[in-house]
Amino acid sequence: MRDTRTNRILFQIGAILFALIVTTLVLSLAGAQPFAAYKYIMLGAVGSWDVVSNVLVSWVPLLLATSGLLVTFTVGLWNIGIEGQITLGAIFTTWAMRLLQDSGWNPSLILVIAVLAGMLGGTLWALLAGALKTFGGVNEIFGGLGLNFVATALNIWLIFGPWKRPGVASMSGTLPFDRSLWMPIAAGSSRLTPATLVIAIVGIIAVYATIEGTYFGLKLKAVGRNPKSAYILGIPTWQHMMASFAICGVFAGLAGAVQVTAVYHRLIPSISSGYGYLGLMVAMLVGYKASLAAPVALFFAALNVGSIQLPIILKLDSSLAGVLQGTLVLFVILGQGVRTKLLKKTKVSS
């Protein structure tokens, strides 16, 4: 087999087919009608302008998380702590909003400050994971995982403690902010906020341009592929790792800020909504290439939103989207592995 574009695409298509087959099997085993399920997922994702705008609402934080992760993957880091970084972004945003909500300042100004605060929160939490790695020798996966638990605990404590609703604390989160402090919603939609959409699109373009076109991006690649050689070539290695942690933290913090200001309008216990982990899957699925991140993230968001209706219509759990996403990533990576093996074999035997 030769290394061609055609067979690369064929393998991708094969992987998608396999993922569908496995998901179909899972559905059949559960006694559901697979094709009805797929139909309702599709309708649930593109059936009306309202669901499409919901998909976009879900796409924004997912794309932000993925954008950040592309930077850390480029430098060779597994920033699994992104979940905690999103949470801290949300906490800092909520904090800023709580401080300023009664100040009488212009709501737009408050929102800008709140988003900036969220970016700061995510960055600090990411830098903590980076410092643990650089100065403490703690692998970023373990450090990040630990910090995720700390972030969740901090979040719950705030919701049930200092920031609890007047009267009784609740799993439904803190008291929602005044409508004037919501991100402006597009006309004709119930939830879509154009400002966040712009942020996400500008973000992924910036990440793409940075990785593919700048000296900084090339240095990140160099450090990611071989830190020892990069150091000998004159590239400060740990500084670049810290920088990429910080950049990922900015994006994670933005995702958290979006969740608070544009989606939930309050702090809730599961504020990160798993977008960090989902972002890891998207990044893996696109092979860490920024050019494909936006459409794949959109597809994942569509699956998520599309499956929301399943429990109501088909009495199926909405985690079906997760099954499909998980098997998809698995088969694509498996496909890449098999393909590499076949290519090698050809190389040896031809």
Binding site: T214, Y215, L218, A222, R225, S229, I232, G234, K347, V348
Partner: protein, 499 residues
Amino acid sequence: MQVELRGITKCFGALRANDNISFTVPPSTIEGILGENGAGKSTLMKILSGFYSPDSGDILLDGEKVKIDTPADAIRQGIGMLHQDPLDFPPLKVIDDFILGEKGGLLPNRKRASKEFKELSARFDFSIDPESYVDTLTVGERQQLEILRLLWLGARVLILDEPTTGISLPQKEKLFATLKKLAAEGMTILFVSHKLEDVEALCSRATVLRQGKLIGTMELPFATKALVEMMFGKEMPQESKTQLKMGMNVLNAKHIDLDGVRIQIKGVDLQVHAGEVIGLAGMEGSGQTLFLSACAGLSQPVGGSFCLDEEEKDMTGQTYHEFRKKGVAYLPAARLEQALIPGLSLTEHFILSEGMRGFFIDRKKAEDLAKSRIALYNIKGRPDSTVESLSGGNQQRALLALMRDPLKLILVEHPTRGLDVESTIYIWGKLKERCANGTAIVFISSDLDEILKYSDRVLVFFAGRVTPPLNASSLNVERLGRLIGGKDWDMLETEAAHA
């Protein structure tokens, strides 16, 4: 055991690495397999030892056709291969590494293995502690461990791929003695090398490959000139050494004390002058790398000071990047592990090393730069070739091409390790060009000829002791060899006292 190859052919893509190769090696023979880099020696040996399957052709042992698909098959048939980089397990204990390949029950019998290990090593006069860890051994000792392991697993054919690269002279002598002993006991030994002197010193026959084809086999006594012609197709010109004038001080190392993992060095003094070449000789692991890396700020001395330039700027305790800014370059021996970045293209390497200004990469400018450097350094590759796709010699050329201009001091580990004669001459030509422009070079080599041929002065390292700089013109292979082996050091001190 008699080893016979019949019509072995192996292609990688369009490249015919082995082209219909047939020859027979009788038992009790040490057969030299000669050829320059890329001649197909390693491929052929990997086929014999089961790492590759041939596209066509047969292997016969004692006249019987055998099928060898994996290295495990090979060792079952009695063929063991010692790879250029020993295939061992650095984090394991010697004894655990030793018993790894053994077929056996659930629980390894360490006691028996340990006893047999000691008996075997006593037979060859090796002194490796079975309870020590593999990563604490020198390359030479790791080779010894591999040889013992292969013998213990029942090898009757031993393949050695470039075994004398990276080991010291005494270790080499011990290796040769061992191999001769094994051959006398009936073993067949295939000795892959591009070092003529090694083949002449050890082998009873020599087979030469060139560009994947078998060129011929020569019995003792070898005619060196004919062998060189068989290998390269032409006589290699020998470069004559020109005497250079001593320039200004570029590096002043004063009473340097170094603390390595297994070695301590005390009180090294060295003044390096512009345009001179200093060779660091010694057994592998005698402290040369420790000292050289300290000269670049890659490791820190525990005592003494480093000053750069005639202004004597104190650089002690500074990082490599500070040294680099002052015009110091370091070229590690492990090219793909420590010096180049697999996956990135030549162009991208040039961009990184030039430290270009601006935010966005100027692709056009970068590619022009890459093209001019590739032409200037005669690298066989394109601007978009990834570094791992280049051959060793071309990687080393790329490494030289990556050095900035001007430089005050170049520190090189094993500049020509694993390279053929042509590349070696080319690399040194380029290094000497730098010297002519006032750059000083300090290099490590295990190759005594290289040390003597290219150095102006030589430092000999032995178990943490370092000689004062010796004039290369006052040295010869024998004297250098004795110093490396730890002899004549008293005489050196007496000489110094009288001087």
